[in-house]
């Protein structure tokens, strides 16, 4: 059993600045678009202008002659290089979808689906040539709404209906619980469709080199190994023939973990041309082809005993997706997580859920930060707040009464989710403290006397992190739930970390070097991490599901401790002392029995690498460890978010005054980094709550496909966000860290919905739709005044 250093203050837990941030602050970046490539061509796509249409004759003769054009491609040209794919998972039983090809062939099924690709010397020339292509379209009726999805013709031939995935959960006696309830609260909630908006669009340079029969992808991605494995499979290559390189990533949040047709087409074109081919999704294309998410129509009800205890929950979730289920993570996982997680913080005895994911002639949907959680959280939290109003109980008190007690773990939910240990009660108590809850309620009362409508909204949440194989691999997906770290002592005593988990701005590099430094016993300035190279690092799942530090960091810790042991084995030989009497502190071998410094690591490494002949055994100072969580399918975190808002009941505008997050993510490797991750997640949730929505017309045309009309939150409307932490480590790993990346997004929409409805309760109104726009607030208010 390895030991932690005792004398040096540990790096784990310290708020250390990101070492790699200075490079970004100087503009010395390494995004895909930053590098130059020899003989590069750029690709642009002609995309379907209709949500559903037959593709007729394509005449590209005029385009072919335009300046700079190198090649024009349809699916017929690329099908020899790239296989179609289908986005289903076996463990999401009964899920169906139809094969998707790199370019649409015969029929286009969403507005924006790529049909023709043009490669040219410059992107501008490629776009010019697109205008010269003549295509016959025969527009068909699109399936633009969810209400008729069940009775409408399937969006693809080969489907018998528009249900992609359906699932039911039945636990306990739901009907009896509702029949005997003291109070039943029922709501219909509408969740708007969202697009991700990463500031750096999807970016790839595909470089097929026939001389060494190797495909190199310079890719902005969260999951280099998954990309390598799936691209190899789709293109009939071996894993050793594909190398994925990932430098800086300008935001992802779940955007860049999927197989996109335009990216596959880009690779196919490179295979054809044997030249590097670059595709950068510009902002218009991003709106037309990035995965979307979060469209749900939910009918839910909650049964309460007369004293306010929850007895049952029932959730009907209709989730309209896109024209295909996205590959490889599917478009059903989000809905699946909704019904798995709704009500998770609370004790209850009965639960029924019915999920239907239905196809639409729209952009395919898939995972976007906190997948499904914002919906699950908002459904339960909105029901509880309404119950509090009707029971004339304080909403915080009602939650305290109903959360799973902190000493009642481990606990398995009615949907089968296993919680190792959470701290809902402590989090609610901490919430009361940090928000000054009683004073807030008083402020609300005083403000109302002055005609100001303040609202306070609370959201108790659980968040899935550190996912194991149950999420994807169990269904046959080539998505790894383990990650690997190689730690190598260099000849001068510094340490290199090669990790399968990468950096998209969350500070992985810094947190990893903190862990490695502690694990080995060196100064943090003597550790450097490399990731984003499938040739150089161990194989792993990469960044998704808030697993980078919980899983990748654990691999680093274990490898580091193993490396420490190996170093000490060498030191024991060199110093002729038992290894148990030695330790490493600040890059030096020390005695555990006295404060002596015995040998610097640089000297030890020098001997080991250059002149090991005096050592009895060949030293091995390079260690690889892989880690996958085993004891629990996922590591849940918990927290409580609180929103303070002001609603202008004359204009419907909502102002976010303040936001609090109480969060328990287990061990925090770097609180400074974790806090801003949480804030960033909260702001994405606030954007969903008030601003962001993909607006489609009845022909499934996207109406607001620019950043002027799709409203991403900017600094002017965002509140200060105060964060406090509790710590319930997971005992499933040595590090004890759970994930922190997504929890902010999980609870923010629910907190804001509750706050707005709390403010509107003084005029008897409520909103039931995301985003909560001024229009919807005004409608709710006039509806309420009509009813009175």
């Amino acid at each position: 059993m390895t030991r932690n250093p005792t004398r040096q203050a540990p790096y784990i837990g310290a708020s250390i600045r990101r070492a790699n941030a200075m490079r970004l602050l100087q503009g010395r970046t390494r995004y895909v678009d930053d590098a130059k490539h020899q003989r590069l061509v750029h690709v642009a796509f002609l995309r379907s202008p209709f949500a559903h249409c037959e593709i007729g004759r394509i005449d590209s003769a005029a385009a072919a002659g335009m300046p700079g054009v190198v090649g024009i491609y349809t699916w017929d040209d690329l099908s020899t290089y790239c296989k179609p794919w289908t986005g289903t998972l076996k463990h999401l039983q009964g899920m169906v979808s139809t094969p998707q090809t790199a370019l649409a062939s015969g029929i286009a099924r969403w507005q924006g689906e790529p049909i023709v690709a043009i490669a040219a010397e410059t992107r501008a020339q490629a776009e010019d040539a697109l205008n010269a292509i003549d295509i016959e379209f025969n527009e068909l009726d699109p399936l633009a709404d969810w209400e008729t999805a069940l009775s409408a013709d399937p969006v693809s031939a080969g489907l018998t209906s528009n249900i992609c995935f359906e699932r039911r959960i039945e636990a306990g006696d739901v009907d009896a619980a509702f029949a005997s309830a003291g109070l039943v609260v029922e709501q219909t909630l509408h969740f708007g469709r969202q697009t991700v908006v990463a500031l750096e669009g999807r970016s790839v340079v595909a470089d097929w080199n026939p001389a060494d029969q190797m495909l190199t992808l310079h890719h902005s991605t969260q999951v280099p190994h998954m990309m390598r494995d799936l691209v190899a499979e789709l293109f009939g290559l071996k894993a050793i023939d594909v190398r994925v390189l990932c430098g800086d990533v300008g935001g992802s949040f779940g955007l860049k973990i999927h197989i996109y047709p335009d990216e596959m087409a880009t690779i196919a074109i490179s295979r054809h041309l044997s030249r590097p081919v670059k595709f950068i999704a510009d902002r218009l294309e991003s709106f037309a082809s990035d995965i979307q998410a979060r469209h749900h129509e939910v009918n839910a009800r909650m049964a309460f005993a007369p004293d306010g205890r929850i007895t049952a929950l029932e959730v009907m979730d209709m989730a309209p997706i896109g024209a295909y289920s996205m590959f490889p993570r599917t478009s059903g996982t989000e809905g699946n997580q909704v019904i798995n997680y709704v009500g998770g913080p609370y004790r209850h005895q009965s639960y029924r859920a019915h999920l239907r994911c239905v196809f639409q002639n729209k952009v395919p949907t898939s995972q976007f930060r906190a997948v499904g959680h914002p919906i699950a959280c908002a459904v339960a939290e909105s029901l509880i707040d309404e119950a509090a109003r009707r029971l004339n109980m304080d909403p915080l008190t009602l939650r305290q009464m109903n959360v799973i007690p902190d000493d009642a773990y481990p606990h398995t939910s009615l949907s089968g989710m296993r919680f190792e240990k959470l701290s809902h009660q402590a989090a609610l108590a901490e919430t009361a403290r940090v928000t000054g809850y009683a004073a807030l309620r008083q402020l609300q009362k005083e403000s109302l006397k002055q005609g100001r409508h303040l609202g306070i909204g609370i959201a108790t949440m659980i968040e899935m992190t550190n996912p194991g194989p149950s999420i994807y691999a169990a269904g046959g997906a080539r998505i790894s739930s383990q990650d690997g770290a190689t730690l190598r002592l260099e000849p001068d005593g510094s340490v290199t970390v090669l990790l399968s988990v990468g950096e998209q701005g969350q500070g992985t590099e810094t947190a990893v070097t903190q862990i490695a430094a502690d694990a080995v016993g060196v100064h943090i300035t003597n550790v450097r991490m490399l990731s984003g190279d499938t040739l150089a690092t161990p194989m792993g799942g990469g960044t998704w599901g808030s697993r980078g530090i919980g899983i990748g960091g654990e691999a680093v810790l274990q490898a580091g401790r193993a490396l420490r042991a190996q170093i000490l084995a060498v030191a024991a030989q060199l110093l002729n002392r038992p290894a148990e009497e030695l330790d490493i502190q600040g890059g030096e071998v020390i005695s555990t029995r006295s404060p002596e410094v015995l040998m610097g690591l640089s000297r030890l490494a020098h001997v080991a690498y250059y002149a090991p002949d005096g050592l009895g055994a060949q030293p091995e100072l390079c260690v690889t460890r892989h880690y996958m969580p085993r004891d629990y399918p996922v590591a849940f975190t918990n927290g409580v978010q609180t929103a303070l808002v002001e609603v202008d009941i004359k204009t419907g505008f909502v102002r976010l005054l303040k936001h609090w997050v109480v969060e328990d993510c287990g061990v925090l490797v770097n609180p400074l980094l974790a806090d801003e991750q949480i804030r960033g997640g909260v702001v994405q949730g606030l954007g969903y709550a008030l601003f962001e929505e993909c607006l489609y017309d009845d022909r499934a045309q996207l109406l607001n496909a620019t950043l002027a009309d799709y409203l991403v939150p900017m600094a002017g409307e965002m509140p200060d966000i105060e964060i406090s932490h509790l710590c319930t480590p997971t005992r499933t790993s040595q590090l004890g860290a759970k994930g922190v990346a997504e929890c902010g997004t999980c609870g923010a929409p629910a907190a804001v919905l509750n706050a707005v409805n709390d403010a509107l309760s003084s005029v008897g109104a409520r909103v039931n739709q995301f985003p909560i726009t001024p229009e919807r607030v005004l409608d709710a208010i006039s509806e309420a005044s009509l009813e009175r």
Partner: protein, 169 residues
């Protein structure tokens, strides 16, 4: 400075302190010019319609959207990008403050944030120092999808204080 066809026009302006004459296609916007022909990749296109601010540069002493400016328009202009401003040391306090406050995550918005904040620093004086709300408003034209903006506001406040230009709030 006119073009008879779609090929280049010649335009002379100062870029990061260096005068130069450049041949540009009229339609090429400043961001693409900087990135493709000058190797200055610190300025980025996030939307190409003027909303996100990732392309913000300094032209003739004022901030501007690089995606909504054509080099062809810049005869006689004085243009500064993140690289140039970094090189003069003008951004030192801001960079240090951003670093300390963890106001950088993926980095894509960072150049635009720094150039915009540097303008606020230039325009702030001891007489009318910006408070936190005013800083928030000034920075509200730059989109960040990673942070919660709070650390950025903190950083600008810290940098203003370092330069002696802020009120006490």
């Amino acid at each position: 400075m006119n073009s008879d066809d779609e090929s280049t026009v010649a335009v002379t302006f100062r870029l990061n302190g260096v005068d130069g004459t450049h041949r540009v296609q009229p339609r090429t916007h400043l961001v693409d010019f900087l990135r493709d022909s000058q190797g200055l990749v610190g300025t980025r296109a996030g939307c190409e319609h003027g909303v996100c601010g990732a392309c913000t540069v300094r032209i003739d002493g004022a901030i501007a959207r690089g995606c909504l400016v054509l080099p062809a328009q810049l005869e006689g202009a004085d243009v500064w990008t993140i690289e140039g401003l970094d090189g003069t040391g003008e951004l030192k306090e801001l960079q240090e403050a951003f670093h300390q406050c963890n106001a950088v995550q993926c980095g894509f918005c960072t150049s635009g944030m720094l150039v915009t904040a540097s303008q606020l620093v230039v325009e702030s004086s001891g007489d009318t120092p910006p408070d936190r709300a005013q800083i928030r408003e000034y920075m509200s034209g730059n989109l960040c999808r990673c942070t919660g903006y709070q650390s950025i506001i903190d950083a600008v406040k810290l940098a203003l204080r370092a330069k002696g230009n802020t009120s006490h709030d």
